[in-house]
């Protein structure tokens, strides 16, 4: 057991390159982040910002055409660069992962009970009966009605929300310290989304695991994450407590993201705010801040130099010209173009 106070996950200067036939995608470029015991950290960014790659890297599930540099410490143990055999022991026992589409995450020809109990049988050599009992317990914990009946059903017999619960149960059956949830609610309807997010909260209370919530939806993060890590173009843009990020975003990208979220107070006939331009091509390395082409406050310095991390307390950002509170209120009052 590691000393109390040791973060469940400590990532330092992580870089992930994906080798393609004729180019290299720099999916993750120097990410440092920390997740404490029982904490829920939301990783937010647009599609293609590298957050999914980050999640896969942390779960040790990157394919062979990737190169990883930097450090990933899971429960005080270095996992970056581990060989497959050792990684296999880490998976499922120390870290569980839930993917976006519950329908395809489950083997259509295998019964639910078998799939939920699989980790136990594989990792600790549990018998079929033991695994089945643990699976039933887990299904109960994730809120599936009549868990004993569900054990023998097939995935296509369940609704989307129930399937996602099954996937969560399978990921947590060995009580890992960290749960990585990659877009866990994107494939579900809004009501089910809310239920699943509540489930994460409930599980955190019961099992005490830390959660890494990867999403593009600020709304998901708002109610359910303790801290937020905003990612852009493979890099950290801003980190901090959820409340602070929402109240006073500093990185221009975070500010733009929050602006584009529809709120009840948004004036009735105003245009929706969007972020102009497109995310950058990650096969091309740029000097300077990647957000420059889309940033309203970009200067010459921003194009040539990558901003260092600055900040106060737990709130950090990489920006030469961070938004400040006064400006924010002003832009909210003005009618957007």
């Amino acid at each position: 057991m590691s000393a109390p106070g040791t973060p469940v996950l400590q990532v330092t200067d992580l870089e992930v390159d994906i080798k393609l036939r004729r180019s290299v995608v720099h999916a993750v470029q120097g990410v440092t982040l920390k997740v404490g015991e029982g904490e829920t950290v939301g990783i937010v960014g647009e599609s293609g910002c590298g957050k999914s790659t980050l999640g896969l890297a942390l779960a040790g599930l990157l394919p062979s055409n990737t190169a990883v540099r930097g450090s990933i410490r899971l429960a005080d143990r270095e996992v970056a660069g581990l060989r497959e055999r050792e990684l296999r022991r880490v998976r499922g026992t120390e870290v569980g992962i839930v993917f976006q589409d519950p329908m395809t995450s489950l083997n259509p020809t295998q019964r639910i009970g078998v799939q939920v109990g699989e980790t136990l049988r594989v990792q600790s050599g549990a018998s079929k009966a033991e695994a089945r009992a643990a699976a039933a317990d887990m299904l109960n914990l994730v809120g599936l009605p009549r868990p004993l009946e569900q054990l023998d059903r097939f995935p296509h017999e369940l609704s989307g929300g129930m399937r996602q619960r099954v996937v969560i149960a399978a990921a947590l059956v060995c009580h890992p310290r960290l749960l990585i949830a990659d877009e866990p609610t994107t494939a579900l309807d809004v009501t089910t989304q809310a239920q699943i997010l509540e489930l994460f909260g409930h599980l955190r209370e019961t099992l005490g695991m830390a959660t890494l919530l990867i999403t593009h939806d600020m709304g998901v993060v708002a109610g359910h994450a303790d801290r937020v890590f905003v990612m852009y173009a493979g890099r950290e843009a801003e980190t901090g407590d959820t409340a602070e990020i929402f109240d006073a975003p500093r990185h221009r990208y975070t500010a733009a993201l929050l602006d584009s979220v529809l709120r009840l107070e948004t004036p009735h006939k105003s245009e929706l705010a969007t972020i102009p331009g497109r995310p950058p091509d990650l096969t091309v390395s740029t000097a300077g801040c990647p957000f420059v082409p889309r940033c309203p406050a970009a200067s010459g310095q921003c194009s040539t130099e990558l901003p260092a991390i600055s900040g106060e307390g737990d709130h950090h950002w990489r920006c030469f010209h961070p938004a400040d509170q006064a400006e924010d209120n002003l832009s909210a009052a003005e009618a957007p173009r």
Binding site: I18, L20, S47, P63, T66, L282, T283
Partner: protein
């Protein structure tokens, strides 16, 4: 929007760099990027030119047999030697190629035309008519093609045209199934429903919407049809049911030459045999390349 999963599985990122060709010809560019497929295409073109233009440059007598000139090994005047009745083998390879390719393309054309029509109608109309039409296909599929051909070729001693029709008639079943599957998917698409509502007549809807949007599947299957036809005609010729001499095809040349295996006349078997294998491989490569270019699921039935 970048699909990271696609990126992680090794496909190129959609990114901001690539200029997008208009959707209609995207497959052509994808095909052109596939070296094996292009190589196959080149081989087919070369062999077609060889068979059809070759005789214009290299004159040989392919009608009259010449006693005393049989089974000469390759040498001056006969680059591939002569066959067992005195024909120049290289010239024979050209003439044989003409017939082989004519019958293969012709049979494939017949198979595709009949099959597409049948399948499109069945899939589009649906219901009991579809059921009946597809059961007929099932019934015909249940009889091995070679057996059916054995019977038909015995009853109707075939010439080139008959052979094309007969081979095509045993091969139309697979394209029918494929196009019917496409039609089932396509007929509930909005543009089809829109056309129906606007009162466009059924045959037009079928051709312009169903068939036109299945063109990828059809093209892929047509290529494989040609490859299969070559092998089928070879098998028929081997069984003695091909076309009568002095016409010939590669399959007939191969089976004829195989009678002399133990005499060591390798120039009688390997040139036509290799020609067959190379051509069939080429067409299969083209078919595979087209399938990848159109992004068609290999398991689609």
């Amino acid at each position: 929007m970048e699909n990271v999963t696609a990126v992680l599985s090794g496909e190129e990122p959609g990114g901001t760099g690539e200029a997008e060709a208009s959707g209609g010809w995207l497959w052509l560019r994808a095909f052109a990027a596939n070296r094996l497929a292009v190589a196959g295409l080149v081989v087919v073109v070369v062999l077609t030119l060889f068979s059809f233009l070759g005789p214009l440059l290299y004159h040989t007598d392919q009608i009259h047999t010449r006693i005393g000139m049989e089974t000469l090994p390759p040498g001056p005047g006969h680059p591939l030697g002569t066959d067992d009745v005195g024909y120049d083998q290289l010239g024979r390879l050209m003439v044989g190629g003409q017939t082989t390719l004519e019958v293969a393309f012709g049979a494939a054309a017949v198979a595709v035309l009949v099959g597409v029509a049948w399948g499109a109608v069945a899939g589009y109309v649906g219901g009991l008519i579809d059921g009946l039409m597809m059961r007929i296909v099932d019934a015909l599929l249940a009889i091995p093609a070679l057996l059916l051909l054995l019977y038909l070729a015995t009853v109707f001693r075939p010439d080139v045209l008959m052979l094309i029709i007969v081979v095509g008639l045993t091969a139309w079943l697979v394209p029918a199934r494929l196009v019917r599957a496409e039609a089932l998917t396509l007929r509930s698409r909005e543009y089809v429903l829109a056309a129906k509502t606007m009162g466009v007549r059924t045959p037009t809807v079928i051709v312009r919407h169903i068939v036109a949007n299945s063109i990828g599947t059809i093209l892929v299957n047509a290529t494989f049809q040609v490859a299969d036809a070559i092998l089928v005609v070879a098998a028929l010729s081997f069984l003695g049911l091909g076309i009568a001499p002095p016409a010939t095809n590669w399959g007939a040349m191969l089976s004829n030459g195989l009678n002399y295996t133990y005499s060591g006349y390798w120039w009688l078997t390997y040139p036509p045999g290799v020609a067959i294998v190379v051509t069939v491989v080429a067409f299969n490569l083209i078919g595979d390349g087209l399938r990848d270019a159109f992004g068609l699921d290999t398991r689609r039935q």
